[in-house]
Amino acid sequence: MSSHGIRDRVAIVGMGCTPFGEHWTRSADDLLIDAVGDAVTSAGVTLDDIDAFWFGTQASGVSGLTLSRALRLPNKPVTRVENMCATGSEALRNACYAVASGAYDVAMAVGVEKLKDSGMSGLSGTAVPGAGDDSRGEITAPANFSLLAPAYAAKYGLAQDEMKDVITRIAWKNHVNGARNPRAQFRKEVPLERIRSAPIIAGMLGVFDCSGVSDGSAAAIVVRAEDAYKYTDRPIFVKALSLVAGPADGLLDPEYDFTTFPEVVASAQEAYRQAGITDPRAELALAEVHDCFTPTELVLMEDLGFAGRGQAWKDVTGGAFDLDGSLPVNPDGGLKAFGHPIGASGLRMMFEAWLQLRGEAPPERTVKTLAEGRSLALTHNLGGGPGECVSFVSVVGSEPTD
């Protein structure tokens, strides 16, 4: 058994992404109709040209009908996928494999989530019946990810205040980036002190250490790489798609130390192998990563190989991952500035790669690494939490490999 990547066999030729935010006047149907409409317009096709659909949502609908009913699709194949917070990326991955297999010429991945209608802060959960009996020790998402902070601080000798400074810096950076993005939910820079002194939600995490709750949708159109230039002058080529679902033993195994996501390490290594990347920090032009909570982004910098073990906090405070840093991370503002409509986030990340690699990001947000000749972007999407998660890593590029 071995995994065979599909490097440069498929390309994304059209994308759409709604603004993310509190869409009180719009339903999940409205959002996905808009994202799908923008995607087909950007590829210069109609819905009739799409052969098959992969539709990602966690809790805003079940089955392919949620998409086909909204779009009134004429008897097309639609598959609903769900992989927790990596649902949007999972839809894209399936669409890419469908085209790479030769089964379809044109496939679409759509992700949507409507969270604000629930009236709850945070995720409203899934419809899967649990045991309800507390015997797995369920906690809220911010509390779950906040477990990383004291563990990281203890392992690498950071005082409580230093650790708080590091995660504050991450939130600050992503809000700076989001302020330059018309699609972001939060479009204001937030002073460091305001982030630092915000009301505490869980552990060390304040309100600004948590991604917001928002609604949104995004969509991508995938074709065979050799057909890509029929649709656009600037396709982006899929270099790597990697997904792992971990053994979920971190909450059982005392060996796991809450300073890493082993699933992310595994999926990143596989993606780099597929894409032929040996030094991600130097080769990537940008990375969109799953900053659901600020300590997550810190740990991801090490798991994705952007920083050495125990070093990421120094790179964070040194600005290495800022918009003008050596490797810009979350130049669109990330989950921090966009909120996290589950099914849409993975495709929203890809949308930023699409804009940046095509030179369509506004100048105030365009990463300088592109001018240095770099042409690769990474997206990383995570579901679950420390100790048990699914992790997705993609690498896309604006140039086909020779």
Binding site: S124, I139, G203, P247, P254
Partner: protein
């Protein structure tokens, strides 16, 4: 020789200062403190904690033949509460588990029934005393539980206190009563019952001493328990009993725990009685009852692992009165904007009783790896269905990491959460209770305690939490 072969007590960690009630309500609520069951405790969970103490000795659990749970504040009606205690203790399915519930006197009933039983019998007395705000039951009441095993001498389970005699006098008297569902009981004019109880106590004590062939002067520890404070005070002055034999009633520090009070007071005396000393337990309530016990040479060697005095000393700082009121359901606070907590689903809870109630994990037969919850596939060597039961109730652990969840639904926010690495292997993430945020720290030592985590949709959710290991408590040998 028949008699007491084990005992244990549970005094909740929390305390309410009576002056705080007075400050809030402008009443004269008295001095001292009362013990308060945590927001996550009820009479069932406290009964489990007391019984765990009683059964801490190796080899005792398999000997138990029947279990009675006595309480005036049953967690459920219709449904048996003793079966939850039975499940948490992991007793054999054929062991009878039954409630003696409703009246405070059921505590005496359970003790006498156990003392008379031909098979080793566990009597658990548990109560949670509540009154309307500002009332004397609220300030004088207390919460707690005690457990006693009566049986014959066997190797490894010696008799700690020989049963010399017992007697009960029953009397139908309108002294104290409560309609089902009422928040507090009603009491007749105090002078009326005082005389009646003094007479009943004399009758019971006289009868028991006659059976044992003892004079009143032979009593080394006179324990008087009952909700009628004036009557109890009068009975403590019984002529012929040496004044120094009269034991303190602990009401000043933990309050009167009603059904459990005779148990807590008896446990406290057993914690310090010397071999050969005679203990008279006198219980007032709808009559009177007496148990006469003589401590044996085995008592000093086999005292309960957690002495009552130690648990009193390890109590937390006084809690705000408003917190007490909200824990008791007398102050309805704004819930978080989160989905309502789920009640336990009956089939999964039933399938996993040994985990949910017994905290029994699994250990891989091939590589020894512990799994909490129990798993079928080993996380280490991937062996399938090669697991043995791994009891984890008594295993202590160390906090690997922690958080304070301010968004989670809990009756007493914020929720403290710890990842526990157990001595000898295994990890579990759970709530930390009887603790403040300062107690949640990497490296902190914790032990497990059985709690009612939440009540959702009319269903109590019982599960295990961690609590800090506090100094002053000895670690018992566990079976």
């Amino acid at each position: 020789m028949a008699g007491l072969i084990a005992y244990g007590a549970h005094v909740p960690y929390h305390r309410l200062a009576r002056t705080d009630i007075a400050a809030a309500l402008g009443t004269g609520a008295g001095r001292g403190t009362r013990a308060v069951a945590g927001y996550d405790e009820d009479t069932t969970s406290m009964a489990v904690e007391a019984a765990r103490g009683a059964l801490a000795r190796e080899g005792l659990r398999p000997r138990i033949g029947q279990l009675f749970l006595a309480t005036a504040a049953p967690a459920y009606l219709d449904k048996t509460n003793a079966t939850a205690v039975h499940a948490a203790l992991g007793l054999d399915p054929h062991v009878l588990a039954a409630d003696m519930a409703g009246s405070v006197r059921s505590g005496l009933g359970a003790l006498v029934t156990a003392a008379r039983s031909p098979v080793p019998t566990l009597a658990v007395l548990s109560d949670l005393r509540t009154g309307l705000p500002g009332g004397s039951d609220e300030s004088a009441g207390g919460d707690g539980a005690a457990a006693f095993v009566f049986g014959g001498h066997r190797n490894g389970a010696p008799v700690l206190a020989e049963l010399l005699a017992h007697d009960t006098v029953s009397d139908e008297i309108l002294d104290r009563w409560r309609l089902p569902g009422a928040p507090s009981s009603r009491v007749w004019e105090e002078r009326f019952a005082e005389d009646v109880y003094v007479s009943l106590a004399d009758q019971a004590l006289t009868a028991a001493l006659e059976q044992a062939g003892l004079e009143r002067g032979a009593i080394d520890h006179l324990v008087v328990a009952g909700l009628h404070a004036r009557a109890c005070a009068a009975v403590r002055r019984t002529p012929g009993v040496r004044p120094e034999a009269v034991t303190p009633d602990l009401t000043g520090v933990i309050g009167n725990a009603g059904t459990a009070q005779p148990g807590l007071l008896l446990a406290d005396v057993l914690d310090r009685a010397h071999p050969g000393e005679v203990i008279a337990l006198l219980v007032l309530g709808d009559g009177a009852g007496v148990l006469l016990l003589r401590a044996t040479d085995a008592l000093p060697v086999h005292r309960a692992p957690r002495p009552v005095a130690g648990q009193i000393a390890a109590g937390g700082p006084p809690m705000p009165y408003a917190t007490y009121l909200s824990w008791r359901g007398l102050l309805d606070r704004e819930p978080p904007r989160r989905p309502d907590p789920e009640p336990p689903y009956a089939p999964p809870a039933h399938r996993r009783t040994r985990w949910k109630y017994g905290f029994t994990a699994s250990a891989c037969e091939k590589c020894g790896t512990r799994h909490l919850p129990p798993e079928r596939v080993c996380t280490s060597c991937r062996s399938v269905d090669a697991m043995t039961d791994e009891p984890m109730q008594h295993v202590r652990g160390t906090v690997a990491t922690f958080t304070v969840d301010r968004l989670a639904h809990t009756p007493s926010p914020p929720m403290l959460v710890v990842v526990v690495d157990y001595d000898g292997g295994g990890r579990f993430r759970c709530q930390l209770t009887d603790a403040t945020e300062a107690d949640a720290a990497i490296g902190a030592r914790v032990e497990m305690t059985f709690r009612r985590t939440v009540t959702a949709a009319g269903v109590h959710n019982y599960f295990w939490k961690a609590r800090p290991v506090r100094t002053g408590e000895t670690e018992g040998t566990h079976g």
